[in-house]
Amino acid sequence: MKEVTLQINGKKVTKQVEDHTILSTFLRDGLNLTGTHIGCDTSQCGACVVHVDGKSVKSCTVLAADIDGSKVTTIEGLATNGKMHPMQEAFKKLHGLQCGYCTPGMVMSAVDLLNQKKNPSDQEIRDWLEGNICRCTGYQNIVAAVKEASTKM
């Protein structure tokens, strides 16, 4: 067991965790932040993507104890004061989601892309989102949404 302190969406959280506690479990089961989803057991699907210290990571592949002291942003923490982030607005406007299951991870992943590179090309967006699988949309409107968001960020 280890005592872990994390800043989750701006709020400091301290909890005792087993050494093997995975970050996605910590968020979903420990804090009831169920916006982060589990879609596989092979670290392939990306439905679990969150930001740790500003960078996108697959939370299913991170041990909570390993990131003691870090800042974590989940999909629940992206909107500020009830106002959606430009990426969320763009996905809504351009139908970048259908069932919505991949969406939190897709949005978090795309936000990191735009934080690192302004105005990425279609190919750069598709390459970046290779680690995020969507079974519904065929990615067309996801790419369009990321391009739209890049004009607003």
Binding site: R28, L33, T34, G35, T36, H37, I38, T74, I75, E76, L78, A79, M84, Q88, F91, K92, K93, H95, L97, G100, Y101, T103, P104, V107
Partner: protein, 48 residues
């Protein structure tokens, strides 16, 4: 409503999906919830 035909309409459910408030079955925990696990036989002749 002829004016809606062909016009761009946003979905009502998107906001909750985009903000992590979707309630997929794995997100729901009820009191005294039970879980089902499927154990499949590995071959026709198997006795497991």
């Amino acid at each position: 409503m002829p004016s809606l035909v062909g016009s761009r309409v946003e979905r009502k459910e998107d906001k909750k999906f985009l903000t992590g408030k979707g309630r997929y079955t794995a997100d729901i925990t009820l009191a005294n919830q039970t879980y089902a696990i499927f154990i499949r036989i590995s071959s026709r002749k198997s006795r497991d």
